[in-house]
């Protein structure tokens, strides 16, 4: 194909393209109907006629409403699953603790549960205070709950006499 012939074809294609731009703009905008539609004589009448016909006659199909809603639901599910990792991680999010004033009952504690206070696991964040309380409690318990025999042994130790000397 010669260069001039090829260029001629491209120019013709360009003119057709411009014509289609105006034609489709008119088709999609009713207010433009009746407006100027590129009356370039260099455009083949057959191309012009078939373009008009295709623009008018080729329908755009729409799927059924049932399909549309079913797919919308599926997309919503996919979208929800995409959002889930963000919600589950929640890194860096500060969770406010409810303020508990001295003397007020522990709101998290079930009724009739007064006796097992020390047995409850402690939340992270109260660990330091809990440790101190636990040591003090253990010391008191050791002091109070030792048997008479144990107290005798301890007294003997304090006197510095192995075997007692009593």
């Amino acid at each position: 194909m010669s260069l001039s012939r090829r260029d001629g074809g491209e120019i013709e294609a360009l003119i057709t393209d411009r014509y289609l731009d105006s034609l489709l703009a008119i088709q999609s905008s009713p207010q433009l109907v009746g407006g100027p539609l590129g009356s370039d004589d260099s455009l083949s009448a057959a191309v012009r006629a078939v373009s008009l016909r295709l623009a008018t006659d080729l329908p755009r199909f729409h799927p059924s409403f049932r399909f549309e809603e079913r797919l919308a639901l599926r997309l919503a599910e996919v979208a929800a699953s995409m959002r889930l990792p963000v919600a589950a991680g929640a890194e860096g999010q500060v969770v406010p603790f409810r303020e508990v004033r001295p003397g007020s009952p522990d709101p998290l504690r079930p009724a009739g549960d007064e006796d097992d206070r020390d047995a409850r696991p402690l939340l992270i964040g109260g660990a330091v205070a809990a440790s101190a309380l636990s040591l003090a409690g253990a010391w008191l318990a050791w002091r109070r709950r030792t048997s008479p025999m144990a107290r005798a042994i301890r007294a003997a130790h304090s006197m510095g006499q192995p075997g007692g000397g009593v």
């Binding site: 013709e12 294609a13 289609l20 057959a46 006629a49 006659d57 329908p59 199909f61 799927p63 797919l71």
Partner: protein, 211 residues
Amino acid sequence: MWRSGAAKDAVPRIAHLDRDRPLVEAAQRDPARFDALYRRYLARVYSYAYYELGDHHAAEDATEATFVSALTNLHRFEERARPADGEGASTFRVWLFQIARNEVAGERRRARRRPVQPIGETVVVDPLDIEAEAVRRDEARAAWQALGRLPGERRQAMVLRFVDELSTAEIAGVLGRSEGAVRVLIHRALKSVARDMGVSKRSGDGRGSAS
């Protein structure tokens, strides 16, 4: 208003605006907002798939796969609009139809592997037989049949141009061709359809002796 000279050069050019940009950005922030894009493009993607596959169920499958793929990969989408793409062009739309084109090709391959009924060699099955209640005009049937006899890329370019109303630049993006190549593709397709439909060179109304 633009000023001339250096002042004009100092002002940055207004970037080309993708008409879908606000919806795309909203959906990228929150996938639940993808619904707006889905509703906007459902009929277009479905039509493209329907014209290409000629089967209602196959078109639905391709449409579903297209939108699910678009949603799950939306975070990868980057707008690459150029001023040359024209006013109102959408790179999202190009991206979406690229996905649709791949899904339609996949659907076609699957149909070949498990043909339910003989498939025409290059002729797309006429969906107007199914949609006869909706589209009764013989002209539409003739136009459809003429389009269906075109070879693959010409037919795709014609459907994208006339049914989905994409610009030449957008079609070039979808097909992976240059704009000039798409213009020639469409021009030749029109001449071919005109011959096929019996639209004569002297025809004024385009209502030639259609088959």
